[in-house]
Symmetry: C2
Subunit: 420 residues, 2 copies
Amino acid sequence: MLDRTAYLPLDSASLPARLGTRAELLDRLGPPALWQVREVGDGNLNLVFIVEGPKGSVVVKQALPYARVVGESWPMSLDRAFFEHEALKRLGTRDPGRAPQLIFFDPAQAILAMEHLTPHKVARRAFMEGEELPLMGEHLGLYLARTLFRGSDWSMPTAARKADLALFAGNVELAGITEELVFSDPFKPAPLNRWTCGLEDAAAAVRDDRALKFAAQEMKARFCTCTETLLHGDLHTGSVMATADDTRVIDAEFALYGPMGFDVGVLVANLWMAVFAQPGHRAGGRAQRAYGDFLLATVETLWRVFAAEFSRLWRTERTGILGGRDLFEAQGDTLGAAAALAHHLEQVWQDALGFAGIEICRRILGLAHIAEFETIADVALRARLERRALAFGRHLAVNRRDIPSIDAANRLVRTREEQP
Amino acid sequence: MLDRTAYLPLDSASLPARLGTRAELLDRLGPPALWQVREVGDGNLNLVFIVEGPKGSVVVKQALPYARVVGESWPMSLDRAFFEHEALKRLGTRDPGRAPQLIFFDPAQAILAMEHLTPHKVARRAFMEGEELPLMGEHLGLYLARTLFRGSDWSMPTAARKADLALFAGNVELAGITEELVFSDPFKPAPLNRWTCGLEDAAAAVRDDRALKFAAQEMKARFCTCTETLLHGDLHTGSVMATADDTRVIDAEFALYGPMGFDVGVLVANLWMAVFAQPGHRAGGRAQRAYGDFLLATVETLWRVFAAEFSRLWRTERTGILGGRDLFEAQGDTLGAAAALAHHLEQVWQDALGFAGIEICRRILGLAHIAEFETIADVALRARLERRALAFGRHLAVNRRDIPSIDAANRLVRTREEQP
């Protein structure tokens, strides 16, 4: 499709010369000779530069033709930058203000330039530092409701929805990463799996756990076959940057059509894991307990705001072919419409719990772990905390139909947390 | 996309001149001057010609730029011929011998030439004439298992599956017909709805039936969001042509990715409706009972053969990303794989019952009715039979989770049949 023969990775030295003719950057930064460039990519896939000039700063993200986490032995299409750009445009429109502002996209070079979020901090880092982000739960609840509802056949003109389904069906490689690394590898012997020393028995038990593997397969089938809305697709707390006042969602290259509960589940799983990791980051007692309470309150707020905003959109923007307004409200049956909403939210909730459970398992037994656990230097403590989280994740995945509410789920976290 | 400025509908007089230079037709038919052409399209959308020459006969199907059932006031894209051609190629490969053999496709003219199936009879006609087709149930069970399994992520290389998902997502107009005419119109006041005189109260009751409308909305959401395999998409018994020895599946222009249970449910619904219509076509007593038994036995065979063949493919061809062989068999757990199969078949069964129920409702209250009912001249009898079928369809849609087996479903038909 695209001519990429001229593709060349940026580096800090070459960036000003290569991008210094872009008017959009000159406006924001000032003259290229004065640009300061730092490569800050700590993710698994891309180059990320912060470029600072006398007038301001921007972020420049460039896809590499391989997966950075593994190296050049794992080639990966540069098209993911295209999908990220397409996704950020849509998500940014569906919940204005949550996505970073886009400056330009160069498809041939797989370069996306965007707003430098500052003084925002990656949510994971805030969790390790014990910083409270009081509006994060509300912002993310709104974000989930708006993006998930507005990308679906409950809301969109269906021809546009089907065209988007077709477009994002092309994001095969990144879908494949999720399909393999999230839903399969952690549950079988796989060369990329790794776990904290001391968890060998837990990893072996998972590989023998028919009920859990059955749940993993069910959730994988749901992920692959339920194409109800445009997902962010990688909405963990490393894709969230926040201040006390603001919350942003970045890194949308995994975007694809899938079940609403996936984004919700991955996000709450990462909040719950941050609770389990707390004893590795601050002394026990009151401070630890208080920060855990903040995180659990964030999960609760997130779900309650999500459900409330989703319900509001259901009442006011249900204009798509799945709206069903013609069958219910138009025939004077508002109770029917309300029952359909309750049923839908229950499905999203069960899916979210199932995906959350799988996400927790894969972050402890698979390739990609989370900083909150990885930075705990005391390996025995880390293993103990991960073991608790793993048991919780297993419970969610297997028993997702029998956990009736966010309170009930949070209580399970508390129970696990209190174990020796 | 395609240049269609030269598009012109065929007619019997112009066909030999327009297609007489095609080597594929000359080979099969002999010289165009000797061709006999009959227009036989009795469907809702297209022109269909049987062309006979000294050496043989072929069928020529051409899409019209509007829906024939309504007229030029309902414009409809000629692209449906493209989707039919793409679908027939795939379905024909997945279950060789069931699709008609393709001769050529002319995209600009939306013309598809194919094998003339003779002495095959449309299954609906056989049902009205009381002709037994002893192999039809087995053939259709195999067809469903093979096409539905082999078009899914349980079997296909996932990049090819996703490319097909994207391709058929373009079949927006024909999907829209199903979405509107099957899942919505029958359950609301809609200008295209019609029903037999005497069923006014039944139609009104359906529009007030919250549980049924809820089920219709659930099945519609399943149809629109569960894109697990390539469906035929319009697999009623007017799309089946058969002899005592052979069974063929035609008319695939509604093909799209959807839930496996849709094709299964639409097909068995039409077989069940043929049972309900029997008293309109032959005297009561033994002959009527025997033919009803044949039809119910066909449904039973169809489901049993489907489940058996699907299970065989599950064991032998589960090579796609949803196969799960790595989690089960590869770790010595054949029971886990068998449990996953049973769970999947149960889901297909419930979906099939739900879709069957909706199909029955729409064939009695919506735009497109079935010949088995429509040809009953005694309107009071027709209304009585349709009322029975409608009650059965309503029961299937609403109670689909509580009908455990094909025997149980067939028993419900017998019960309804025996009502006065």
